[in-house]
């Protein structure tokens, strides 16, 4: 009996040693590093962008076409936290919304930004129901709305303009400019060329999330030239049935010397910035 007790004590202490090590190291490695991390997640044919600000605030823009976004969140949100500080649904179409339904069920949402639009679909009805059940308040935003986080990260809404009337849901996409120091990234949802240029956007940006998965009608070329993005990222699924992204669009981006990344070829694309310089990491 004593022998057995001793044996299991050894075992329990070894397990405890292992568990404590994993927890301490995971905690240590998850601490914010003072840099802005922007990840265009590989979620297939849809959009999902995850940001961790220098102070460790978490922002998620769209959730992709299925629950793949959950695994990405699992590896980005530390084990001890279930919080997304700012969630943005650009517009209520399935390839942007579906993943968010599970996200809203499983995570604590600090602030939710949406545009003034609705969709008559099953998934949108489910989304509304989850928001009610979890008592998540949505804030309808429009151009000019802004949030400044304590770590000096700015999130500025540049589209849709107030009182927009359009038959096309894509036109209602919430477009945000995320800035930290001299670094700017423009996240565009599906707001394609018919609503470009976005309100008040005339200065260059470093990172440009190409709207509408790089479709033929995604870009107003004159406007994108003024943005002169150093890199452009297309969130698109492999072998999708829409023929996204459009080859002409890629050629155009290359002629204005913008380096093009695509999630179907490069996987998840990460940009890290300290406010002055920045670099990219891609999965493939």
């Amino acid at each position: 009996m004593l022998e057995k007790l001793k044996r299991s004590r050894v075992k329990v202490s070894l397990y405890a040693f292992l568990v404590i090590n994993i927890l301490v190291w995971s905690f240590y490695l998850s601490l914010p590093d003072g840099k802005l991390h922007l990840k265009v997640l590989d979620v297939g044919q849809g959009d999902a962008v995850y940001l961790e600000t220098p102070g460790g605030y978490r922002i998620l823009v769209d959730g992709g076409p299925d629950s793949r976004v959950l695994k990405h969140l699992g590896s980005n949100v530390p084990f001890y936290s279930r919080k997304i500080d700012l969630l943005i649904l650009t517009h209520p179409q399935a390839d942007h919304l579906t993943g968010l339904v599970e996200v809203a069920k499983r995570y604590q949402i600090g602030t939710l930004w949406v545009s003034n639009s609705e969709n008559n679909t099953k998934i949108f009805a489910e989304w509304q129901q989850v928001l009610r059940r979890k008592r998540i308040n949505k804030i309808e935003v429009s151009a000019g709305d802004k949030i400044t986080l304590p770590d000096k990260t700015n999130v500025l809404v540049v589209w849709p303009k107030k009182d927009l009337k359009s038959a096309d849901l894509n036109s209602y996409s919430v477009v945000v400019l995320v800035s930290f120091g001299n670094f700017d990234a423009l996240l565009t949802g599906d707001a394609d060329r018919q609503v470009q240029p976005y309100t008040g956007m005339s200065s260059p940006v470093e990172v440009f999330k190409v709207p509408h998965h790089g479709s033929k009608t995604a870009l107003n070329e004159g406007f994108v030239k003024t943005l002169s993005p150093e890199i452009s990222i297309i969130s698109v699924g492999e072998r999708n049935s829409y023929g996204h992204p459009n080859q002409g669009l890629i050629n155009f981006l290359e002629t204005i010397a913008s380096k093009v990344y695509r999630t179907d070829k490069n996987g998840t694309v990460e940009i890290v910035s300290d406010g002055n310089s920045w670099y990219t990491n891609s999965q493939r």
Binding site: M1, K4, L5, R7, S8, V10, K11, L14, Y15, L18, V19, I22, L23, S26, S67, R68, L70, K71, L73, G74, V77, F79, Y80, R82, K105, R106
Partner: protein
Amino acid sequence: MRRSRIKSPFINRKLPILVFLLLFLSLFFWRVFSYLPIQTDGYLKVRSTLLEEPKEYGKWQYFSLDVYRVKANSEHELNYGDILLIEGEVTKSRFTDPKIRVAGTSTWRKILFNIREGLREKIFEYFSEPQASLLAGITLGSKEDLPESFKDSLIQTGTIHVVVVSGYNISVVAGFLVGLSKFIKRQYATIFALLVIVFYTLLVGAEPPAVRAAIMGSVAFAAITLGRQRLPLYSLILAALLMTVISPIVVTEVGFQLSFLATAGIILFQKQLLNFLSFLPKPFSEDLSTTLAAQSLVVPVIFYHFGSVSAISPVANATTLWTIPIATVLGFLFIAASFTLPFFAQILSWVVWSFLFIFTSLVEVFSKLPITSFEFEPKQILPISVYYGVLVLAVYYFKYVRKAKAKQSKS
């Protein structure tokens, strides 16, 4: 005198077991192959209870019913626990757009389902992916949430059986608990294990494969208590045979095959493997020997059903599987705590997360190693036969020939 000492234990005790086992295995596989083709094509009427939530993709919804896959029009309002009458043409075990009538509901199944849903939500509240769906898989038997990429990694490393088949877990959890007879009498440990089996079976929805696994597990592990060496194996085989006679179709179920083989493996090889692993610190050799013993008979059947085989699979299994019984047992504790003591549940969830994290990280690492997984054609009988043949020979060699030689040289 010497001759008889060498031969008698073998002839009197072990040979019948081996012969019986071989006969049974051949019967087992013969049934698998002779039974399948009859059912898979033609016009059929099936009445059965729906034991999953249909998955909807646009116009169609998909689900399994009995042994069939069904592709049905999304307009049918179908829920877990509905008793369905399905009529239509079957091709390769698949119904496409059949006539469907809901003939009633199984209330107790619905209640179990709702309980399980509640528990699942608790898991998702505390855990992130892929650990959340892994825990839901091993504790509640819900398989639908696994992220596709993680599922691929599990298949590549040959560890998919941990989540897809509730039967396997029942055997392992029961074996683990019986092995826990450290502080309490063996009899009490067994009673405890039996109670856990019943609870676990109800929790995973008491689906037929789980119930069968539970019966086999209970019979075999209860027999262990009686302390007679051969009894557990014989009772296991008897239970399995009875079920096969009642419904021959069970032999085609992955769950049935895996739970039978895992239990048999534990009964047959656990002690021997423990001796063999005596160079390891005792606490680890105990867990490892249980998992390896269960694995020894199960591995080829997994490959048979899931196709791909990676050379890394034995290593992946040996290094990751020890975390599963711990995560399962602590996972149950966590679930219980999440309803009563949220703070304690939070702490416990981190501990459980650590074990799941070890499992998921190792699986991801192993699946990315450049060791090619040779794509076995699934459903091939030859590799399985070779494997079991070699296993029987190896057991024979180690147990009898080597022992006999050692004894001879001693004397």
